[in-house]
Subunit: 188 residues, 2 copies
DNA sequence: AACTCTAAAAACTTTTATAGTTTCTTATGA
DNA sequence: TCATAAGAAACTATAAAAGTTTTTAGAGTT
Protein backbone atom coordinates (compact mmCIF):
# COMPACT_ATOMS: atom_id res chain seq x y z
CA UNK A 1 0.00 0.00 0.00
CA UNK A 2 1.29 3.42 -0.86
CA UNK A 3 -0.34 5.16 2.01
CA UNK A 4 2.50 4.27 4.34
CA UNK A 5 4.33 7.10 2.61
CA UNK A 6 1.76 9.51 3.89
CA UNK A 7 2.07 8.18 7.40
CA UNK A 8 5.80 8.71 7.22
CA UNK A 9 5.27 12.26 6.06
CA UNK A 10 2.81 12.78 8.91
CA UNK A 11 5.26 11.62 11.50
CA UNK A 12 8.12 13.59 10.03
CA UNK A 13 6.05 16.74 9.79
CA UNK A 14 5.14 16.51 13.44
CA UNK A 15 8.71 15.95 14.54
CA UNK A 16 10.17 18.57 12.24
CA UNK A 17 7.68 21.17 13.46
CA UNK A 18 8.65 20.60 17.04
CA UNK A 19 12.34 19.86 16.86
CA UNK A 20 13.58 21.10 13.54
CA UNK A 21 15.42 19.04 10.96
CA UNK A 22 18.75 18.23 12.54
CA UNK A 23 17.52 17.01 15.86
CA UNK A 24 15.09 14.54 14.38
CA UNK A 25 16.72 11.21 13.64
CA UNK A 26 15.59 8.54 11.26
CA UNK A 27 15.26 6.29 14.29
CA UNK A 28 12.83 8.77 15.83
CA UNK A 29 10.58 8.75 12.82
CA UNK A 30 10.73 4.99 12.46
CA UNK A 31 9.93 4.34 16.10
CA UNK A 32 7.08 6.85 16.05
CA UNK A 33 5.46 4.70 13.43
CA UNK A 34 6.55 1.38 14.82
CA UNK A 35 8.34 0.55 11.62
CA UNK A 36 11.98 -0.18 10.98
CA UNK A 37 14.50 2.07 9.40
CA UNK A 38 14.74 -0.46 6.65
CA UNK A 39 11.16 0.24 5.68
CA UNK A 40 11.80 3.95 5.93
CA UNK A 41 14.61 3.73 3.43
CA UNK A 42 12.41 1.60 1.25
CA UNK A 43 10.15 4.58 0.68
CA UNK A 44 12.57 7.49 0.87
CA UNK A 45 16.14 7.42 -0.21
CA UNK A 46 17.34 9.90 2.40
CA UNK A 47 16.35 12.13 5.26
CA UNK A 48 16.56 15.07 2.93
CA UNK A 49 14.04 13.40 0.68
CA UNK A 50 11.55 13.22 3.51
CA UNK A 51 11.97 16.91 4.21
CA UNK A 52 11.16 17.69 0.59
CA UNK A 53 8.11 15.49 0.69
CA UNK A 54 6.86 17.19 3.83
CA UNK A 55 7.25 20.58 2.24
CA UNK A 56 5.60 19.52 -0.99
CA UNK A 57 2.51 18.14 0.66
CA UNK A 58 2.15 21.02 3.07
CA UNK A 59 2.41 23.66 0.42
CA UNK A 60 -0.01 21.88 -1.86
CA UNK A 61 -2.55 21.53 0.94
CA UNK A 62 -2.27 25.14 2.03
CA UNK A 63 -2.39 26.37 -1.54
CA UNK A 64 -5.62 24.50 -2.21
CA UNK A 65 -7.12 25.78 0.99
CA UNK A 66 -6.36 29.40 0.20
CA UNK A 67 -7.77 29.16 -3.30
CA UNK A 68 -10.93 27.56 -2.03
CA UNK A 69 -11.53 30.19 0.63
CA UNK A 70 -10.94 32.95 -1.86
CA UNK A 71 -13.82 31.71 -3.98
CA UNK A 72 -16.25 30.79 -1.29
CA UNK A 73 -16.06 33.43 1.44
CA UNK A 74 -16.50 37.04 0.46
CA UNK A 75 -16.37 38.78 3.86
CA UNK A 76 -12.71 39.38 4.74
CA UNK A 77 -13.09 38.85 8.45
CA UNK A 78 -15.02 35.65 8.00
CA UNK A 79 -12.48 34.50 5.46
CA UNK A 80 -9.68 35.31 7.85
CA UNK A 81 -11.34 33.27 10.58
CA UNK A 82 -11.86 30.31 8.33
CA UNK A 83 -8.37 30.26 6.91
CA UNK A 84 -6.72 30.76 10.23
CA UNK A 85 -8.62 27.90 11.74
CA UNK A 86 -7.48 25.51 9.07
CA UNK A 87 -4.08 26.76 8.13
CA UNK A 88 -2.78 27.45 11.57
CA UNK A 89 -1.78 23.97 12.54
CA UNK A 90 0.07 23.51 9.29
CA UNK A 91 2.28 26.56 9.44
CA UNK A 92 3.94 25.79 12.72
CA UNK A 93 7.10 25.42 10.72
CA UNK A 94 7.28 29.15 10.06
CA UNK A 95 9.99 30.78 12.06
CA UNK A 96 10.94 27.49 13.63
CA UNK A 97 14.14 25.57 14.07
CA UNK A 98 13.25 23.64 10.98
CA UNK A 99 13.83 26.73 8.91
CA UNK A 100 17.16 27.63 10.47
CA UNK A 101 18.27 24.03 10.11
CA UNK A 102 17.48 23.67 6.44
CA UNK A 103 18.86 27.08 5.69
CA UNK A 104 22.26 25.52 6.22
CA UNK A 105 21.59 21.90 5.39
CA UNK A 106 19.24 22.06 2.39
CA UNK A 107 19.44 25.64 1.11
CA UNK A 108 17.33 24.90 -1.97
CA UNK A 109 14.49 23.69 0.17
CA UNK A 110 14.91 26.66 2.45
CA UNK A 111 14.56 29.10 -0.41
CA UNK A 112 11.37 27.51 -1.60
CA UNK A 113 9.89 27.56 1.89
CA UNK A 114 10.81 31.18 2.40
CA UNK A 115 9.30 32.25 -0.86
CA UNK A 116 6.15 30.29 -0.18
CA UNK A 117 5.78 31.88 3.22
CA UNK A 118 6.33 35.30 1.79
CA UNK A 119 4.19 34.97 -1.31
CA UNK A 120 1.43 32.70 -0.18
CA UNK A 121 1.01 33.12 3.53
CA UNK A 122 1.86 36.70 4.31
CA UNK A 123 0.78 38.20 1.07
CA UNK A 124 -2.45 36.28 0.99
CA UNK A 125 -3.49 36.64 4.59
CA UNK A 126 -2.13 40.16 4.75
CA UNK A 127 -4.19 40.84 1.65
CA UNK A 128 -7.34 39.79 3.42
CA UNK A 129 -6.67 42.23 6.21
CA UNK A 130 -5.96 45.00 3.76
CA UNK A 131 -9.23 44.30 2.07
CA UNK A 132 -10.79 44.65 5.51
CA UNK A 133 -9.06 48.00 5.91
CA UNK A 134 -10.39 49.22 2.57
CA UNK A 135 -13.88 48.11 3.46
CA UNK A 136 -13.57 50.02 6.70
CA UNK A 137 -13.84 46.96 8.86
CA UNK A 138 -10.29 46.96 10.14
CA UNK A 139 -8.46 49.87 11.69
CA UNK A 140 -5.80 51.30 9.49
CA UNK A 141 -3.22 52.32 12.06
CA UNK A 142 -1.67 48.89 12.14
CA UNK A 143 0.62 47.15 9.71
CA UNK A 144 -1.23 44.15 8.32
CA UNK A 145 1.87 42.08 7.87
CA UNK A 146 2.96 42.61 11.43
CA UNK A 147 -0.55 41.71 12.51
CA UNK A 148 -0.43 38.42 10.65
CA UNK A 149 2.97 37.57 12.04
CA UNK A 150 1.86 38.43 15.54
CA UNK A 151 -1.14 36.21 15.18
CA UNK A 152 0.83 33.29 13.83
CA UNK A 153 3.41 33.73 16.58
CA UNK A 154 0.71 33.61 19.21
CA UNK A 155 -0.71 30.41 17.78
CA UNK A 156 2.71 28.88 17.43
CA UNK A 157 3.45 29.50 21.07
CA UNK A 158 0.25 27.84 22.17
CA UNK A 159 0.39 24.72 20.05
CA UNK A 160 3.71 23.63 21.40
CA UNK A 161 3.23 20.20 22.92
CA UNK A 162 5.26 21.06 25.99
CA UNK A 163 3.19 24.12 26.63
CA UNK A 164 -0.10 22.40 26.01
CA UNK A 165 0.69 19.49 28.24
CA UNK A 166 1.32 21.35 31.43
CA UNK A 167 -1.74 23.52 31.20
CA UNK A 168 -5.30 22.83 31.94
CA UNK A 169 -6.83 24.51 28.92
CA UNK A 170 -7.58 22.82 25.64
CA UNK A 171 -6.20 23.88 22.33
CA UNK A 172 -9.67 24.94 21.20
CA UNK A 173 -10.03 27.25 24.20
CA UNK A 174 -6.69 28.73 23.35
CA UNK A 175 -7.53 29.31 19.69
CA UNK A 176 -10.76 30.86 20.76
CA UNK A 177 -9.16 33.23 23.19
CA UNK A 178 -6.52 34.36 20.79
CA UNK A 179 -9.00 34.93 18.03
CA UNK A 180 -11.15 36.97 20.37
CA UNK A 181 -8.27 39.17 21.45
CA UNK A 182 -6.98 39.54 17.98
CA UNK A 183 -10.24 40.29 16.22
CA UNK A 184 -11.19 42.78 18.87
CA UNK A 185 -7.76 44.32 18.53
CA UNK A 186 -7.73 44.78 14.80
CA UNK A 187 -11.30 45.76 14.16
CA UNK A 188 -12.58 49.26 13.87
CA UNK B 1 39.21 42.07 34.40
CA UNK B 2 36.24 39.91 35.33
CA UNK B 3 33.82 41.59 33.02
CA UNK B 4 34.89 39.36 30.15
CA UNK B 5 32.70 36.75 31.82
CA UNK B 6 29.70 38.96 31.25
CA UNK B 7 30.58 39.48 27.64
CA UNK B 8 30.76 35.74 27.21
CA UNK B 9 27.34 35.37 28.79
CA UNK B 10 26.02 38.09 26.50
CA UNK B 11 27.23 36.34 23.40
CA UNK B 12 26.01 32.95 24.55
CA UNK B 13 22.60 34.29 25.47
CA UNK B 14 22.18 35.78 22.03
CA UNK B 15 23.21 32.62 20.27
CA UNK B 16 21.21 30.33 22.54
CA UNK B 17 18.08 32.41 22.07
CA UNK B 18 18.31 32.14 18.35
CA UNK B 19 19.70 28.68 17.77
CA UNK B 20 19.18 26.72 20.95
CA UNK B 21 21.87 24.97 22.92
CA UNK B 22 23.08 22.17 20.68
CA UNK B 23 23.50 24.12 17.52
CA UNK B 24 25.73 26.70 19.16
CA UNK B 25 29.38 25.71 19.25
CA UNK B 26 32.11 26.95 21.50
CA UNK B 27 33.84 28.18 18.35
CA UNK B 28 30.78 30.26 17.53
CA UNK B 29 30.81 31.98 20.88
CA UNK B 30 34.55 32.52 20.81
CA UNK B 31 34.53 33.98 17.34
CA UNK B 32 31.57 36.23 18.14
CA UNK B 33 33.72 37.83 20.78
CA UNK B 34 36.97 37.69 18.87
CA UNK B 35 38.54 35.62 21.62
CA UNK B 36 39.99 32.14 21.52
CA UNK B 37 38.46 28.97 22.83
CA UNK B 38 41.33 28.82 25.24
CA UNK B 39 40.15 31.98 26.89
CA UNK B 40 36.61 30.65 26.91
CA UNK B 41 37.69 27.59 28.84
CA UNK B 42 39.65 29.81 31.14
CA UNK B 43 36.42 31.33 32.43
CA UNK B 44 33.99 28.44 32.11
CA UNK B 45 34.84 24.83 32.55
CA UNK B 46 32.30 23.61 30.01
CA UNK B 47 29.57 24.57 27.61
CA UNK B 48 27.04 23.43 30.16
CA UNK B 49 28.53 25.85 32.63
CA UNK B 50 27.88 28.71 30.29
CA UNK B 51 24.25 27.69 29.91
CA UNK B 52 23.83 27.75 33.67
CA UNK B 53 25.41 31.17 33.87
CA UNK B 54 23.10 32.52 31.19
CA UNK B 55 20.08 31.21 33.03
CA UNK B 56 21.27 32.53 36.38
CA UNK B 57 21.83 36.04 35.15
CA UNK B 58 18.64 36.19 33.15
CA UNK B 59 16.47 35.03 35.98
CA UNK B 60 18.09 37.38 38.44
CA UNK B 61 17.59 40.32 36.09
CA UNK B 62 13.98 39.52 35.38
CA UNK B 63 13.25 38.87 39.04
CA UNK B 64 14.61 42.27 40.01
CA UNK B 65 12.62 43.93 37.26
CA UNK B 66 9.34 42.38 38.32
CA UNK B 67 9.85 43.29 41.95
CA UNK B 68 10.65 46.85 41.06
CA UNK B 69 7.60 47.28 38.86
CA UNK B 70 5.36 45.80 41.52
CA UNK B 71 6.40 48.54 43.93
CA UNK B 72 6.46 51.46 41.59
CA UNK B 73 3.52 51.14 39.18
CA UNK B 74 0.04 50.74 40.64
CA UNK B 75 -2.10 50.72 37.50
CA UNK B 76 -2.14 47.19 36.06
CA UNK B 77 -2.25 48.17 32.43
CA UNK B 78 0.58 50.64 32.84
CA UNK B 79 2.54 48.05 34.77
CA UNK B 80 1.93 45.53 32.05
CA UNK B 81 3.21 47.92 29.42
CA UNK B 82 6.32 48.70 31.38
CA UNK B 83 7.21 45.11 32.15
CA UNK B 84 6.52 43.89 28.68
CA UNK B 85 8.74 46.55 27.21
CA UNK B 86 11.67 45.54 29.36
CA UNK B 87 11.19 41.85 29.81
CA UNK B 88 10.27 40.93 26.31
CA UNK B 89 13.68 40.75 24.80
CA UNK B 90 14.93 38.60 27.63
CA UNK B 91 12.32 35.88 27.48
CA UNK B 92 12.86 34.95 23.89
CA UNK B 93 14.13 31.70 25.26
CA UNK B 94 10.66 30.65 26.34
CA UNK B 95 9.27 27.98 24.11
CA UNK B 96 12.40 28.01 22.01
CA UNK B 97 14.81 25.40 20.78
CA UNK B 98 16.96 26.17 23.78
CA UNK B 99 14.33 24.66 26.02
CA UNK B 100 13.83 21.51 23.99
CA UNK B 101 17.59 21.09 23.76
CA UNK B 102 18.31 21.35 27.44
CA UNK B 103 15.33 19.21 28.30
CA UNK B 104 17.40 16.33 26.99
CA UNK B 105 20.92 17.59 27.56
CA UNK B 106 20.75 19.35 30.94
CA UNK B 107 17.48 18.26 32.53
CA UNK B 108 18.26 19.96 35.84
CA UNK B 109 18.64 23.28 34.12
CA UNK B 110 15.50 22.64 32.13
CA UNK B 111 13.45 22.06 35.26
CA UNK B 112 14.63 25.28 36.82
CA UNK B 113 13.83 27.22 33.67
CA UNK B 114 10.38 25.70 33.42
CA UNK B 115 9.55 26.44 37.00
CA UNK B 116 10.81 29.98 36.67
CA UNK B 117 8.71 30.54 33.61
CA UNK B 118 5.68 29.11 35.30
CA UNK B 119 6.08 30.78 38.67
CA UNK B 120 7.62 34.08 37.77
CA UNK B 121 6.58 34.96 34.25
CA UNK B 122 3.14 33.53 33.76
CA UNK B 123 1.96 33.81 37.31
CA UNK B 124 3.28 37.31 37.69
CA UNK B 125 2.21 38.78 34.38
CA UNK B 126 -1.00 36.79 34.41
CA UNK B 127 -1.58 38.21 37.88
CA UNK B 128 -1.37 41.72 36.54
CA UNK B 129 -4.05 40.99 34.00
CA UNK B 130 -6.25 39.40 36.62
CA UNK B 131 -5.89 42.48 38.73
CA UNK B 132 -7.03 44.38 35.66
CA UNK B 133 -10.03 42.12 35.38
CA UNK B 134 -10.95 42.70 39.02
CA UNK B 135 -10.62 46.41 38.60
CA UNK B 136 -12.91 46.18 35.58
CA UNK B 137 -10.30 47.35 33.16
CA UNK B 138 -9.88 44.10 31.32
CA UNK B 139 -12.62 41.94 29.88
CA UNK B 140 -13.18 38.77 31.78
CA UNK B 141 -14.10 36.42 28.98
CA UNK B 142 -10.49 35.61 28.20
CA UNK B 143 -8.02 33.42 30.01
CA UNK B 144 -5.23 35.63 31.27
CA UNK B 145 -2.59 32.97 30.95
CA UNK B 146 -3.44 32.28 27.37
CA UNK B 147 -3.37 36.01 26.76
CA UNK B 148 0.13 36.31 28.16
CA UNK B 149 1.35 33.37 26.16
CA UNK B 150 -0.21 34.72 23.01
CA UNK B 151 1.47 38.03 23.56
CA UNK B 152 4.86 36.53 24.19
CA UNK B 153 4.46 34.31 21.16
CA UNK B 154 3.68 37.28 18.99
CA UNK B 155 6.78 39.10 20.20
CA UNK B 156 8.92 36.04 19.81
CA UNK B 157 7.90 35.68 16.21
CA UNK B 158 8.76 39.27 15.43
CA UNK B 159 12.14 39.49 17.07
CA UNK B 160 13.62 36.63 15.08
CA UNK B 161 16.61 38.02 13.25
CA UNK B 162 15.65 36.23 10.03
CA UNK B 163 12.19 37.69 10.09
CA UNK B 164 13.36 41.16 10.98
CA UNK B 165 15.98 41.24 8.30
CA UNK B 166 13.79 40.66 5.32
CA UNK B 167 11.15 43.16 6.28
CA UNK B 168 11.07 46.87 6.01
CA UNK B 169 9.64 47.64 9.43
CA UNK B 170 11.69 48.30 12.57
CA UNK B 171 11.42 46.33 15.74
CA UNK B 172 9.96 49.34 17.50
CA UNK B 173 7.18 49.61 14.95
CA UNK B 174 6.45 45.96 15.43
CA UNK B 175 6.32 46.20 19.23
CA UNK B 176 4.07 49.15 18.89
CA UNK B 177 1.65 47.45 16.57
CA UNK B 178 1.43 44.34 18.67
CA UNK B 179 0.88 46.27 21.84
CA UNK B 180 -1.87 48.25 20.16
CA UNK B 181 -3.68 45.17 18.94
CA UNK B 182 -3.24 43.39 22.20
CA UNK B 183 -4.28 46.19 24.52
CA UNK B 184 -7.29 46.95 22.39
CA UNK B 185 -8.14 43.28 22.38
CA UNK B 186 -7.97 42.67 26.10
CA UNK B 187 -9.47 45.86 27.43
CA UNK B 188 -13.05 46.36 28.32
C1' DA C 1 67.09 44.92 22.21
C1' DA C 2 66.29 40.89 24.70
C1' DC C 3 62.59 39.26 28.01
C1' DT C 4 58.10 38.00 29.75
C1' DC C 5 53.42 37.51 29.96
C1' DT C 6 49.01 37.08 27.90
C1' DA C 7 45.91 35.85 24.71
C1' DA C 8 44.74 34.76 19.89
C1' DA C 9 45.19 31.40 16.12
C1' DA C 10 45.30 27.19 14.74
C1' DA C 11 46.30 22.40 14.80
C1' DC C 12 45.19 18.35 17.15
C1' DT C 13 42.75 14.54 19.82
C1' DT C 14 38.78 12.41 21.45
C1' DT C 15 34.17 11.74 21.90
C1' DT C 16 29.67 11.42 20.32
C1' DA C 17 25.81 11.31 17.30
C1' DT C 18 23.55 9.57 13.61
C1' DA C 19 22.85 8.56 8.53
C1' DG C 20 22.74 4.75 6.10
C1' DT C 21 23.64 -0.58 5.61
C1' DT C 22 23.56 -5.22 6.68
C1' DT C 23 22.32 -9.28 9.04
C1' DC C 24 19.32 -12.03 11.53
C1' DT C 25 14.78 -13.20 13.01
C1' DT C 26 9.89 -13.75 12.66
C1' DA C 27 5.43 -13.85 10.72
C1' DT C 28 2.33 -14.42 6.88
C1' DG C 29 0.38 -16.49 3.20
C1' DA C 30 0.75 -19.22 -1.19
C1' DT D 1 7.46 -25.86 3.49
C1' DC D 2 9.19 -22.32 1.12
C1' DA D 3 9.29 -17.38 -0.14
C1' DT D 4 8.61 -12.78 0.72
C1' DA D 5 8.23 -8.80 3.61
C1' DA D 6 9.19 -6.30 7.48
C1' DG D 7 10.86 -5.52 12.25
C1' DA D 8 14.81 -5.56 15.51
C1' DA D 9 19.15 -4.79 16.26
C1' DA D 10 23.91 -4.69 15.39
C1' DC D 11 27.28 -2.50 12.58
C1' DT D 12 30.04 1.01 9.84
C1' DA D 13 31.53 5.26 8.30
C1' DT D 14 31.66 9.92 8.81
C1' DA D 15 31.05 14.34 10.37
C1' DA D 16 30.64 17.62 13.94
C1' DA D 17 32.05 19.55 17.88
C1' DA D 18 33.96 19.48 22.84
C1' DG D 19 37.96 20.08 24.89
C1' DT D 20 43.42 20.29 24.75
C1' DT D 21 47.87 21.47 23.27
C1' DT D 22 51.13 23.96 20.54
C1' DT D 23 52.56 27.85 18.07
C1' DT D 24 52.54 32.70 17.02
C1' DA D 25 52.13 37.63 17.88
C1' DG D 26 52.00 41.68 20.31
C1' DA D 27 52.09 44.82 24.40
C1' DG D 28 54.40 46.28 28.10
C1' DT D 29 58.98 45.87 31.01
C1' DT D 30 63.83 45.93 32.27
Amino acid sequence: MNHIKNRIIDAAEKRFSQYGFRRVTMDDIASDLGISKKTLYLHFKSKEDIAWAVKERMHKDIGRLLQKAKKEIPDPIERFKKIIAEVTSRVSIIGSTFMTDIKKDIPDLWRECESFREKEIYKYIGGILEEGVRKGKIRKDIDTKIAVMAYLGAIKMIIQPDILMENQFSIEDAFDNILKIFLEGIQK
